[in-house]
């Protein structure tokens, strides 16, 4: 009965505007929030190996380098200046093996007979975000190795064909053991290695740092020079600074690493702007709703006064209002979540997949909690407003 009196003139333009505004604002807010979370959770396979935002930098090889005037080494001063850059959070020079390395197949493991000279490098373990056991000690069964993906490409599509060899799949290569031939410091030894992953980002052959420390001490020729490649981790959205640094130090960075950084930066900026805009829409629609309830209250001014005069309490009147607003805004909140999910699953995700970006689907929990928080914010803002207005009517 109270509802009947207080919401007599409910269906008006203001109500439709307030509802539509709140629905659009909340949907946009949730959608941008969800997309930001999705983009943050986005990993290429590469990044699963090396953690997000990390790139390998090296100095460009020029003619001067070739004739020995220029050097591609990073001096300790270079490294120090990298560490001082605000957008770089971690710097790790590559360590190199100080001995000769060769690999060949282990007989019976399915690989054709081959032998190749190689080299080993390592980066600190904190950069390796890899499923398999990357720790190595003297008791380990094998030395884990990460190969550049191009390496297997060259073998399969170049070398194998021209030599009449069978092609090797990544799985086969990872299943097979390799014989590692080590020669240095006047000693020779053989060990077992196994490929545990492939990398697009690092065109180097990586082994665990612990192995390299151990073997350099045993077989090293003490000819170690300054590192020529450095692994750095940058902050999110620091594509611009990275590009500046490249110019400044005449650096060479793998194209794909930059592209990922670039795409992520651009997406983050675009969604960020969208997010701020939707936050504003959201706040505006909050004001719109407060305005709407203010309008209903002033239209029902006579009714409120009279109800208070015949003994209805402020709480009863406020509760009637809040119940109605909660219902309305509850429907808006649920609709916003549903629309957000529909857009995400039916439009955005297929589009991203079509463009080669695979999204695992980050949790919807944060978006839903945000929707619930918005609901609470709306209702409490209106509660405070309605209570104040009803009290004023009673005292008028």
């Amino acid at each position: 009965m109270l509802k009947k009196i207080l919401f007599r003139e409910r269906t008006n333009v203001q109500f439709i505007f307030a509802t539509a505004g709140a629905l659009i604002g909340l949907t946009a807010l949730l959608l941008s929030l969800q997309l930001i979370l999705d983009v943050r959770s986005f990993h290429s396979n590469e990044e699963e190996l090396f953690g997000p935002n990390s790139v390998v930098i090296q100095k460009k090889v020029t003619k001067l380098t070739t004739i020995g005037i220029n050097s591609t080494e990073f001096t300790p001063e270079d490294l120090q200046s990298l560490r001082e850059k605000e957008f770089i959070t971690d710097v790790a020079p590559f360590a190199s093996a100080d001995f000769k390395v060769g690999i060949s197949e282990v007989e019976g493991d399915g690989l054709p007979h081959f032998y190749a000279d190689m080299f080993f490098q390592s980066i600190p373990n904190r950069f390796m975000d890899i499923d398999v056991d990357w720790n190595w000690n003297e008791q380990s069964e094998f030395i884990p190795i990460v190969l550049p993906r191009d390496f297997i490409m060259i073998i399969n599509y170049g070398f194998a064909q021209s030599q009449g060899m069978n092609q090797i799949s990544e799985d086969l290569l990872m299943a097979a053991r390799l014989t590692i031939h080590i020669n240095g410091n006047g000693q020779k030894t053989q060990m077992i290695g196994r490929v545990v992953g492939f990398s697009q980002k690092i065109s180097s052959i990586l082994v665990p740092e612990s192995f390299l420390t151990y073997s350099n001490a045993l077989y090293g020729n003490n000819t170690i020079q300054n590192p020529s490649r450095v692994f750095i981790t940058t902050k999110d959205d620091s594509y611009g600074e990275l590009e500046e640094l490249m110019d400044e130090m005449n650096l060479d960075i793998s194209k794909s690493a930059i592209d990922v950084a670039k795409i992520k930066t651009i997406i983050a900026v675009v969604i960020g702007i969208f997010g701020i805009a939707s936050l504003l829409i959201m706040l505006l629609s909050l004001l719109g709703f407060v305005q709407y309830s203010q309008l209903v209250l002033s239209k029902a001014s006579y009714e409120i006064k009279t109800l208070l005069r015949i003994g209805y309490s402020i709480r009863q009147i406020v509760n009637t209002f809040i119940k109605q607003l909660s219902l309305t805004f509850g429907i808006i909140t649920v609709s916003a979540v549903v629309i957000m999910m529909l857009v995400k699953y039916l439009l955005v995700n297929p589009w991203l997949e079509k463009n080669g970006i695979n999204i695992e689907g980050s949790s919807l929990l944060i978006a839903i909690v945000t929707a619930a928080l918005c609901f609470v914010l709306f209702i409490s803002a209106n509660y405070v407003n309605v209570k104040k207005t009803v009290r004023n009517q009673g005292n008028a």
Binding site: M1, L2, K4, I5, R8, E303, T306, L308, R309, I310, G311, Y312, S313, I314, R391, G394, N395
Partner: protein, 213 residues
């Protein structure tokens, strides 16, 4: 319940020459249950008196006390409590909900107080001759009919003091008499009293006390 006026002077009536015996000059103290008439010509402040006692206006100097407590100190919540349990009123402008039916207007009050059974309310309507208007919207009734609805509504709660501001102004003698009879009956049942303001007609009513304006 005690009602006492101590040097009360509403600001709109400040410059008006008042009789020495008037409420505004002499003040008064009444103990209810009691049936009181407040008889005065138009413009002397009858409605001002009712609104003041009912806590709807504060534009006066002096002090009004209910049971020894100055009403100026009551909070809105205390007033609402008072209006539900001790104080009832028929306003001159009735204050009904025009968009609700007669029945809804009455139920709105009774749902709050749970004071009467549905049959009793129906009997009240029959007694005052508007039983057939039960489902009509209040705005479609004549003033006299609306007045009777307001009277019935004021009786759907417990009260110690019922304020009646010219409740029969649109009723003929016969209907006024019946309404007064109902008011008396319910006032006695509640063990309460009332103050009835009137423009000079007494409706053959026997009162215990008289106030002058």
């Amino acid at each position: 319940m005690y009602l006492e006026f101590k040097d009360v002077m509403p600001s709109p009536l400040r410059d008006y020459p008042h009789d020495e015996a008037s409420v505004w000059k002499a003040g008064f103290k009444l103990e209810f249950p009691k049936k009181v008439i407040l008889n005065a010509s138009s413009g002397k402040g009858k409605s001002t008196f009712v609104s003041t006692v009912y806590g709807l206006r504060r534009d006066y100097i002096g002090s009004v006390e209910l049971d020894g407590k100055p009403i100026e100190a009551l909070t809105l919540d205390e007033w609402i409590e008072l209006r539900r349990l001790q104080l009832s009123a028929v306003f001159q402008d009735l204050q009904l909900f025009p968009e609700l039916s007669v029945w809804d207007n009455l139920c709105l009050k009774n749902e709050l107080t749970q004071h009467k059974e549905e049959q009793e309310i129906e009997a009240f309507l029959e007694k005052l001759g508007i039983g057939d208007k039960k489902n009509q919207l209040c705005k479609n009734l004549s003033l006299g009919q609306q007045q009777r609805v307001a009277i019935i509504r004021s009786l759907l709660q417990p009260f110690e003091l019922l304020l009646l501001d010219e409740p029969f102004s649109h009723l003929d003698e016969e209907n006024a008499k019946i309404a007064l009879e109902l008011i008396n009956q319910e006032t006695d049942a509640n063990g309460g009293g009332y103050i009835l303001t009137s423009l000079g007609s007494y409706h053959g009513f026997e009162y215990d006390s008289e106030l002058k304006l």
